[in-house]
């Protein structure tokens, strides 16, 4: 069933929902953007429907709701530990199709990989329901259609914002009661069917080809370009890697906690071991790892889908203007050449064709 709801009425419904749910949506943080006088849009608990930024893409993904940048796993006293606790409230997240599909990738790592479940992820994941936000046209850097993540039916409510009103589809019976007095209309959310940005995913079908890809000169062009800041990982809905870190609270060191902190495969020390031994020492090698992880080896492992959902946030966040979609397309071209036995680009050539948005 779908309904035509005024913003005023929707705010009343929100208040009702908030008795049992924490409601998260992309919100505007004024003057906190990357450049002076720009705003930052990131996920936070909303107070009213007007807080929801629906006509811009959020800089950060909703993964932080369930997988915070830093999170206490448990607390220690002398020789005891206490598992960290979570709120009893359930969680509602206003999310785009790409992000909802992104959660499925996080589910795969945290709940399935290795046959074990991560309880810190699970205990929040079980509480989550989605309010699908229609995308309209999408944005310049989006390439969800190429990744097949432009659509989803994993939502409880779907919304389209119109000036003073909101069209709401209610798919989950739990919420039907809240809308019984509203005006019924015909509305099902529409999904973006074409993005301005498109990517071609290279078909990597043999170990020989993979080895040649590892040796491609194109990776070296990132050695000077990428500053290994990890911003691309931080905004990615599908990046799940972390470090663990113990913290002491007091001088005498009797009480503390073990934390999990999001990690970045683009950081120099991601693979560093004793004696400084590391495995991906250059920015180019790390870019190769990230690229193949997102569009090759995740799928090779889990079969169903690529890891990247094409949200394009990494493109927007990169201080060096490196575009991931361009990187994928570049790799595609190089792989085509490898398959045809043609010479691939040398570093000098790639320097002139560096992707600048």
């Amino acid at each position: 069933m779908s309904y035509y709801v005024s913003v005023k009425r929707m705010n009343e419904i929100l208040k009702e929902l908030q008795k049992h749910y924490k409601v998260y949506a992309p919100m505007r943080f004024e003057k906190r953007g990357r450049y002076s006088d720009t705003d930052l849009i990131r996920y936070a608990e909303i107070n009213s429907i007007e807080d929801v930024v629906y006509d811009e893409k959020s800089d950060f993904s909703p993964k932080e709701v369930i997988y915070p940048i830093t999170q206490a796993l448990f607390y220690f006293t002398e020789y005891e530990y206490m598992e960290s606790k979570v709120d009893d409230k359930k969680i509602l997240i206003f999310a785009r199709p790409c992000d909802i599909n992104g959660f499925r990738r996080l589910d795969t790592i945290f709940l399935k990989n290795g046959g074990t479940e991560d309880i810190y992820y699970k205990r929040l994941r079980e509480k989550i329901k989605f309010i699908l936000m229609e995308c309209g046209e999408g944005w310049d850097t989006c390439f969800c259609v190429s990744m097949g993540s432009n659509k989803t039916d994993d939502y409880s409510l779907a919304v389209r914002f119109e000036n003073d009103n909101i069209l709401v589809e209610v798919k989950d019976d739990e919420f039907t009661n809240l809308f019984v007095d509203e005006k019924e209309i015909e509305f099902t959310p529409e999904f973006v069917t074409s993005n301005p940005t498109k990517v071609n995913i290279p078909e990597i079908d043999s170990q020989e080809l993979l080895e040649k890809i590892y040796d491609l000169d194109m990776w070296k062009s990132y050695n000077s370009r990428c500053i290994s800041c990890g911003a691309c990982n931080a905004v990615c809905i599908t990046c799940s890697c972390f470090n663990t870190l113990d913290v002491i609270y007091t001088e005498n060191g009797k009480v503390g906690e073990r934390r999990r902190v999001q990690a970045s495969c683009m950081h120099e020390d991601f693979t560093t071991m004793a004696g400084g031994l590391g495995f991906r020492k250059t920015a180019g090698e790390r870019m190769r790892f990230r690229t193949l992880h997102k569009i090759y080896d995740y799928k090779a492992r889990f079969k169903d889908e690529h890891m990247c959902v094409g949200c394009g946030r990494c493109d927007e966040r990169c201080p060096e203007l490196i575009s991931f979609s361009t990187t994928i397309n570049r790799l595609y071209d190089e792989v085509e050449k490898l398959k045809k036995g043609e010479a691939t680009q040398t570093i000098e050539q790639t320097a002139s064709t560096e992707e600048v948005k």
Partner: protein, 263 residues
């Protein structure tokens, strides 16, 4: 609620053996069922956590041989028998011990690499009838870094051993890297055999090449990988190589797979 895989449990330290100045073996009480080649995530609350291989095991204990290199390991060296250490695991796969039975086995280990194969060696030392022959090459940097002196002596009595130091000349030890001694293994007299190689990445690489040069087929070689690990259970991503997680599918790999893993 599912079991919390991140939560470690306290275990009592029964005994501590000083192997070298910077390497101690900690015998820890546990009734966990461990396979040769597996590791534990070992931690001290408020300090940190790291993967450590099991170097020996018994009815209700395991031994962990730890090198003092940093935050956690420095702190572990301050512990005394009776103190508690936190652990979760065991994790990872193991050496296919049962496949090794009845055949010839060659073990080539360098430095701390002896530690993850020690329990396997001890098993065949105590069950010599289960193996046709065992050749053990162990290499250390210098006299100061020799580990498990007592075991090395014992192994000599039942296995064909070659112990070597990179440069130092002392009794009972050859001189040179382990790779230089591989040609002494009589591979051509074996009917069916396996080769286990564990040590620093460079050593494993060249030792494997040397074996291949001596006619060893790839599928007979087994190696154990070390990678940075923060979780041990396939969640943190640090140990991932291509689509393979070293903590889950490793640390032990057959060479046919290992050679395909591109970092």
């Amino acid at each position: 609620m599912s079991e919390n895989i991140m939560l470690p449990n306290p275990h009592k330290i029964i005994n501590i053996i000083n192997e070298t100045e910077n390497e101690y073996t900690f015998r820890v009480e546990t009734n966990a069922k461990v396979k040769h080649g597996q590791f534990f995530q070992v931690s001290i609350p408020k300090i940190g956590e790291a993967p450590i291989s099991v170097s020996s095991m018994g009815d209700n204990w395991v031994e962990l041989t730890i090198r003092k290199v940093g935050k956690l390991t420095n702190e572990i060296f301050n512990l005394k028998p009776g103190d508690k250490i936190f652990m979760r695991g065991p994790y990872g796969n193991s050496f296919p011990k049962d496949d090794f039975k009845g055949k010839d086995l060659v073990v080539i280990a360098g430095g701390t690499g002896v530690s993850p194969v020690r329990s396997l060696l001890k098993y065949f030392y105590e069950n010599p009838d289960e193996i046709r022959s065992l050749h053990f090459i162990a290499g250390f940097k210098d006299e100061k870094s020799i580990l498990f002196k007592e075991d090395l002596k014992n192994f000599k009595t039942r296995f064909n051993t070659i112990y070597t130091l990179d440069k130092d000349k002392i009794e009972g030890f050859e001189v040179g890297l382990v790779t230089e001694h591989i040609k002494k293994i009589p591979f051509n007299t074996f009917e069916n055999y396996n080769v286990v190689i564990v040590g620093p990445p460079v050593m494993m690489h060249f030792a494997a090449l040397e074996c291949l040069k001596n006619g060893v087929p790839e599928e007979k070689i087994w190696v154990s990988f070390e990678r940075k690990m923060s979780c041990g259970v396939g969640k943190c991503g640090h140990c991932k190589i291509n689509e393979t997680y070293v903590c889950l599918e490793g640390p032990v790999f057959n060479y046919t797979k290992a050679k395909k893993l591109l970092d």
